[in-house]
Subunit: 253 residues, 6 copies
């Protein structure tokens, strides 16, 4: 089985960190790789950047299809391009917000999310409303740390623990969800400090994709997620005219 984890931003160091988290949880028979697009934003902290990450994600999915990849993880907590990727891929595609929230729902009555910047909370709440039952997601909290600072700021762990503790208390939650792929490495330590399960979406999405492939399940091709037929695209996006070769011209040779 071949699983590809797509880091939707272009920061290779973050792709490596994500790969570590994912690799730690796959089974022995699973081939895992992590990639990031050659186009798009260095990190994703706004709707603007999220939107601009999608062409690159689609390029990676199209390349994955040509390479026989069995399932994909989209490793950004906004789950960018998830619906479009499902149209391109034969196998399952799982976003990390989606995976983390479904996993959290299996571990307690309600969860809180700790994310990076306050401005990303609206998207997280929107995704929660789409994925899980109403009362499951009880709150989303920023900790005022930009994505690319997560590795450099020495206070990150303390900050996430502090925001998480306050969230558990205010929301009366059982479980904490980390709201950024860049927080994957904090998972165990935050859980140890807070005494509750803490879910990292990267690892959760990886095992869920592995699970779905094991079950022989893929995105339904019935109507909405059927493959889009070729359609003329122009300008710098002309390479996307054939979805099966999405943006081939934009890929490095």
């Amino acid at each position: 089985m071949h699983i590809r984890v797509i880091n939707p931003n272009t920061t290779a160091a973050m792709t490596e960190k994500i790969e570590l988290s994912a690799r730690a949880v796959v089974g022995p028979g699973t081939r895992l790789d992590a990639v990031n697009p050659a186009m798009g934003p260095a990190s994703i902290e706004s709707h603007y950047e999220e939107a601009l990450s999608v062409p690159g994600i689609l390029t990676e999915v199209a390349a994955g299809e040509r390479a026989g990849v069995d399932g994909y993880v989209i490793a950004c907590f906004g789950d960018p391009g998830l619906d479009a990727a499902r149209e391109l891929a034969v196998g399952p595609v799982v976003g990390i917000a989606e995976a983390a929230m479904h996993a959290a729902a299996l571990l307690g009555r309600g969860f809180s999310v700790v994310t990076t910047l306050d401005r990303t909370r609206g998207r997280a709440r929107e995704l929660a409303a789409r994925y899980v039952a109403g009362p499951a997601c009880r709150g989303v909290y920023g900790c005022a740390i930009p994505v690319l600072e997560l590795d450099h700021d020495p206070d990150v762990l303390d900050r996430v623990v502090a925001v998480g503790r306050a969230a558990l208390e205010r929301d009366d939650s059982d479980v904490l969800v980390l709201g950024c792929a860049g927080m994957a490495d904090l998972c165990t330590r935050v859980s140890a400090r807070l005494g509750v399960p803490v879910v990292d979406g990267v690892a959760a999405a990886t095992v869920f994709v592995q699970s779905l492939v094991t079950l022989g399940l893929r995105t339904s091709p019935r109507t909405e997620y059927a493959a889009p037929p070729p359609k003329h695209h122009t300008g710098i996006l002309a390479g996307f005219t054939r979805p099966d070769l999405a943006a081939w011209s934009a890929e490095p040779d």
Copy 2:
């Protein structure tokens, strides 16, 4: 007041039709233009195409900001790029699904949507859940006509009327919403045939943007929709590094 209607696809004939609908409803003091991006898909009937329409939309919004545009309409029923456009624009940005659904909610207890292809219904339902109260949107129905056929298929009016009539009956709805910018010209005739208000989102969004500008209201800059600071973008999307100049390098000189 200067309102710009953005047709998110690259088909100029459709931009012209959209402009006619919009121009018919603005006040004498309003300057209105309709544009379409130089990049992206010829029409939007999948999540894939919707995602690939967004870079072009953002380019048009950034250009509009430089030109002092006061408010924008995004004229595709999937409301692509709406959140991202709100981050870029100082004035209000309204999607046509959003406008049509809010308008329909002012005219009756419940509405049904008639759209083009069945595969677009999932997105329409998702938007309804985001915009209006639970029981307002009672059903979404495809009529099996691709967007770019709307102008050429002689049966379009009859098909929309037939699907609409069945929808009103099945859903016990008061109001019909046309689920595609390309149906704007059918509005009056469908209403006359069915005896209920029929809402075209292009016209509705145009008067709503005009209304919001008149009221001096703009998207809240408080947190989520604050302008995104510059961030490094790479590859064919490098031109988006400075949001205020989004993709300038991709525009025709």
Copy 3:
């Protein structure tokens, strides 16, 4: 186009203030007048008073129909008599809570409402649940000022700003809605102080009615809002027997 703004209470000074707000936002081709019934309560701060304002509202709508009015605003934040008025009027009828909430939904992810007395919050919450999607209205707050004190209390602006600021913080809202027609004149100043869009329902409803009339849209006559046939009424309400002449006998000659 002829728009009539109905102040549901009988206080003429408030009708004048409402008219100013509405007149400031209509287009050059729109004839606007503001009226208040000759019967009913001096102000509306309870369910009792709201119920007793409705016969007067219906009288004004019936008179408006005879005078060829194209659309109506009901200018009390409880949206009294909205459903009944829709049965009487051919053109659209919009309540100010309804308009303010739909407008706020176009400007941000969530809004808070600042109203007069705490006892009116239940009604405001009920209307929010009817008009907009679940997470849009995040809180309703009283500021302990009766309607008819709004013009006389020198602390009104400061009080509304203070309650509004606390609401934005507690609810993590983007937008503020003023929950009383009598607050219409505070709108710009509150917005300047708080740095977020502040929506006055009187102005919002006026431009929305103007928009709907421009679009040729009216309340659906399909089932629920069809005109009620004449029905025998007795006692002091005998004048309402013929809806088209609602309470004519009760009007001053």
Copy 4:
């Protein structure tokens, strides 16, 4: 204990029928009377008529308070004036839609409502959304019989049974609710024909009011339903200036 059932319309024959239903279910120690206002519509089948029934209802509640009534039933399925009546009365006030829906929720997983005219369904659905959990009310169906025909149309029972049977099937409901006070006398026969519990709101509201009074429970006076202080009313509604004497001048001597 003294319970007053208020028939909100002015048709004495219907008041008598309602009284029979109510009287059949009260305990030996309960004094029950049924009244109808001297003002308002002969029957209620529109929002217009519902609104115009409220002043009369309030008059009856105010009179009841002066007479020491312990609790009230509002016997019209639109539950007109319920919030306002709660402000006036010290004891509990229960509407028949409210009572029927809560009772139905105790008897099965979901219920359907059979009402008179299709145009009243919107109000019934709105009340269901206010009273019971989302999935409880599964459908509302008209049977095309006006309220005042219920006693004269020989096909009423067959029609209600036919509409009810189809509703149970379509909605997969366990319980049927009769959506009009004028159907109270059909209850047992419809139940016998359909083999499911059939709830008449008049009887249900009567025993619920009796229950609440027995428990010593009354409407909360905390904020929203506190008694409204006197407020100046004008015109034909001048008699409502003092809520405790609501419309005394309008009552027959």
Copy 5:
């Protein structure tokens, strides 16, 4: 009429207290008894204990059916075994959480629940979501007193009043619900101290069952709650093979 109140735990002193509450509110023609099973937990403060209370409840219902009981109250705020009991009983079965929440909904816009231990709040919230409309139940609060301490802890009244007062304030609720059968005797005193209606589910369920029996209403036998046919049971539960004789062998002779 014969009503049986089942205390689902095996503590006879609590059964006696429950019986007092119930007996105080039934009519003169009603025979009331209170029982507790001979099997199961001494008190119910966890999902584990709740589950283990159900076989005993079913034994009591089966015995009640053989004795001609007309209706049942299940007197534990988790409403254990409610669905299963409805399958066994011909007459109505009402849980005390269910009854208290429906009663509270008739008395104000929103209620808060005060219960014993924090760990029971999840179940209470789940029941609220099942029984009443979304905004009705505004909060559930523990007061850190185990069920069997309620009678011995001299601070119980003060603690419940303090938690209740804070709940009303925080939730802006009108009504308080006591979240444990063991609090039934506090009802009047808490209401006197807080000035709002306080609902005890034991009394509320008792009068509601009496009401339903008076109305001739019983659980719908249509599909879900039809009597389960005999099915082989093994082990210590072999006595449950015939539902109509549920656990007869386990009953004391």
Copy 6:
């Protein structure tokens, strides 16, 4: 890793079938066993039987804890005893309805459930409301085959396919969920016939438990699911007094 699948009924043949489904999907390093209790019903098709399956489930979980089991599957689509089992187990516990619904949500916009008898649909709908977002579960359909007939009735496959096809059409669903552990072996064939993903909860829950254990995640011990302290139990359930040894006396030596 040691996973235990608990068949909540006492039919060993069904336990074997369930074990086959589960064993087919676990990784090489996972020890899997399937057990059924020595007490309780032969199959579960009513609330009564579901309730009576729980003591046996708890016995198996307690035994599993003593044996060092890492995670549990509860293999009945009503997810009986799930909350109580979570209190007893240190590792994760996943029900098959829960797993199937979360998995289905990863594969399409909406799913339909095909179950055995109509009477079990109420429980399935209740679980859907608890687990997934509102619009995800679009319908639940019975196919009139009792659980223990699934292996003997030659028409089962055709019946499930027919009911499933009608469900996809009526609900406009993308995915089908099999609503009974006894249908696990039909999964691949139904999917082949219908062309959509078909989810068997037994396999789904097994891989999800394996995933959660791999991630180091367990049920939150924060409040609601903390281990219940010992409590006196009487009668045939006396063996449950110590939760850690739940019903040891009832187990075969």
